[in-house]
């Protein structure tokens, strides 16, 4: 299971890097979504995958080494929520920028550079 996820992370990173190097701003944003999902998965598997053993303790002794680590899951939830907010903001900024300048090509936005 882990090896599949690792391959998926690699694929998402590759796709994301390809997309953020495109000239279109919209593709850049899609690339950021890819990269942020890849990063979320990376955090998620950082503690390993444990099948069918959620970290619920119902009285008595419990062996923590056999259970899934709940912390990366909590971290990923936080990161996903933050990611949502940021993607919404970038899309809003992009649409505002497009409505003001009619430009979507990052080669054409060089006005604020040197």
């Amino acid at each position: 299971m882990e090896i599949l996820l690792v391959a998926l992370i690699g694929l998402l990173y590759a796709g994301g890097v390809y997309l953020i190097l495109r000239r279109s701003l919209l593709k850049f944003i899609i690339g950021i979504i890819f990269l942020s999902n890849a990063t979320n998965l990376l955090v998620f598997i950082s503690a390993g995958i444990v099948h069918g053993k959620p970290a619920f303790v119902t009285g008595g002794d419990a062996d923590p080494s056999s259970m899934a680590d709940p912390l990366p899951q909590a971290l990923v939830l936080t990161a996903i929520v933050i990611g949502f907010g940021i993607v919404i903001f970038t899309l809003a900024l992009k649409s505002k920028f497009y409505s003001v300048t009619d430009k979507d090509d990052s080669d054409e936005i060089k006005e604020t550079d040197i």
Partner: protein
């Protein structure tokens, strides 16, 4: 010790209050009063740290290393006080420079969101919590930098956003790998695990991800290109705020992480820091000297000065760290002040372009004095703060035998002086060009100068009382170089 949550809670309460305030004029007064309250809280916490050592708060009663811990040591205390001082002066400045129209009606809401994030990074003792505060800073700064919705601002905003998003992804990936290797997120616990860890190559992957993420945030050499492309587009109040505080959060994180737990493979990391510091100084300084827009000169200048702080970290002796902290504080005050002055210049002349300015010395002698103090402080002329900051850094470098970087630092000072003299001679000494007509502006009131006077006094006092402030930074550096005090305060003696 519950007071150390106040630098976060107080801005949060102000945000909630400001949601209901629709009139910009009321918001401005709430901004000034709120900033004053934050400053009082920061000073109170700082005095407490001075008397009692490292302050720790276990949020929600969850003991370290399980819950989120807030920690204030000397470095955090100093940063909190200086930031709140800047915030107070900028909120007064905003009274005159934020327009009373609808677009800026939410300025103070995001202003305090930014302050909440910045204070959060200074007090947190948990690496994931640190990431969350960075995101808070990032989102509110996106809104602030595009506030006004002019074409240039949106364009600058997109460039700013693009690189900062990538930085935060790097940071999160670094946290993921770090947690996978150590199984903890508490910074003190990480320090305890990693100081005894000899598998340095194993840690370097995470450290490099953090290095790149923080390098983008702090704008060091190969990663700074977002800064000069975006800072000069925003409203001058926003630019002053960002110039003083945002990149310094990156520097703070560098100092914190690379003294607390990324201490393996020191030879590689310190040389990498020194090399990027050298390039940062020179390239920032040279790029500043070819510009003619005041804000662009000052923006490149921010980058050049970041190099000195990173250099202090790279030399890595207690004296050098103390110098880096001294330099950071001096730079935050002086740099913000130059931006505030450039805003006043723009108000008088209607432009930021040096070629169409002139005669300011004759027209506004007070403004000339207010410019010359931070400019000389940045260039390092005694008895102002910059001289002592650079003196400490250079002394520590010579003691440790880093002659090349010291030579670069001294030469960069000349570049700094050059670009400051350029602003001085073009805007203040030169006669106003005849062919440029100034849009007739109202005569400015004395209150416009107050924030700038506050910061100029700060630069002067930091120079006059350099010895006592140096003792404080030395104490901060000692705490950083011997992290056992920090670790024991957070974990107690019994956690493995």
């Amino acid at each position: 010790m519950t007071e150390i949550v106040l630098p976060i809670l107080l801005p949060f309460a102000l945000i909630i209050l400001l949601v209901f305030i629709r009139k910009v004029n009321y918001a401005k007064w709430i901004g000034i009063i709120g900033s004053a309250l934050i400053a009082i809280v920061a000073i109170y916490i700082f005095i407490n740290t001075l008397n009692n050592g490292v302050l720790v708060l276990y949020v929600g009663g969850w003991k370290a290393p399980y819950g989120i811990t807030l920690v204030v040591d000397m470095l955090s205390g100093i940063m909190l006080v200086v930031t709140s001082f800047l915030v107070l002066s900028i909120s007064i400045y905003a009274y005159h420079f934020i327009k009373n129209n609808k677009q800026f009606s939410r300025f103070f809401l995001f202003f305090f969101a930014l302050i909440m994030g910045v204070n959060g990074t200074f007090v947190t003792g948990d690496i994931f919590n640190f990431y969350v505060w960075l995101e808070v800073i990032m989102l509110s700064s996106f809104v602030l930098i595009t506030m006004g919705s002019e074409k240039k601002q949106l364009e600058g905003g997109i460039k700013y956003m693009a690189l900062n998003l990538i930085a935060s992804l790097f940071f999160l990936a670094g946290i993921g790998l770090l947690y996978g290797k150590t199984g903890t997120l508490n910074m003190a616990h990480l320090a305890k695990i990693l100081t005894n860890d000899q598998q340095s190559l194993f840690m370097n992957t995470s450290a490099m991800l953090f290095f790149i993420a923080l390098g983008i945030k702090a704008a060091i050499f190969p990663l700074f290109f977002w800064l000069p492309a975006s800072y000069h587009t925003a409203n001058i109040t926003v630019t002053s705020l960002f110039a003083g505080i945002l990149t310094k959060v990156g520097v703070y994180a560098f100092i914190r992480l690379f003294t607390l737990f990324f201490v393996q493979d020191a030879y590689f990391w310190h040389n990498l820091l020194l090399i990027s510091a050298g390039f940062t100084m020179v390239i920032g300084g040279m790029a500043a000297s070819i510009q003619y827009d005041v804000r662009r000169i000052l923006s490149y200048h921010i980058i050049s000065q970041i190099g000195y702080m990173i250099m202090g970290l790279g030399i890595y002796t207690p004296l050098a760290i103390a110098g880096a902290i001294f330099f950071t504080v001096h730079n935050m005050i002086a740099k913000t002040n130059t931006f505030l002055v450039s805003g006043i210049m723009n108000k008088l002349k209607g432009t930021f372009d040096l070629k169409s300015m002139g005669s300011l010395l004759k027209e506004q002698p007070l403004l000339a004095v207010l410019f010359i103090i931070p400019a000389f402080a940045l260039a390092g002329i005694p008895p102002l703060s910059g001289f002592f900051a650079k003196f400490i850094l250079i002394k520590s470098g010579i003691e440790d035998g880093h002659y090349v970087i010291i030579a670069i630092a001294v030469l960069t000072s000349l570049l700094t002086l050059y670009s400051m003299i350029k602003i001085w001679s073009e805007a203040f000494l030169k006669k106003q060009p005849d062919d440029i007509t100034i849009p007739n502006s109202k005569p400015i009131r004395f209150t416009v100068f107050i924030p700038s006077i506050m910061l100029a006094l700060g630069s002067v006092l930091l120079g006059v009382f350099a010895a006592s402030f140096f003792d404080l930074t030395m104490e901060a550096a000692r705490q950083l170089m011997e992290p056992s005090e920090y670790i024991n305060a957070v974990l107690g003696a019994d956690v493995k």
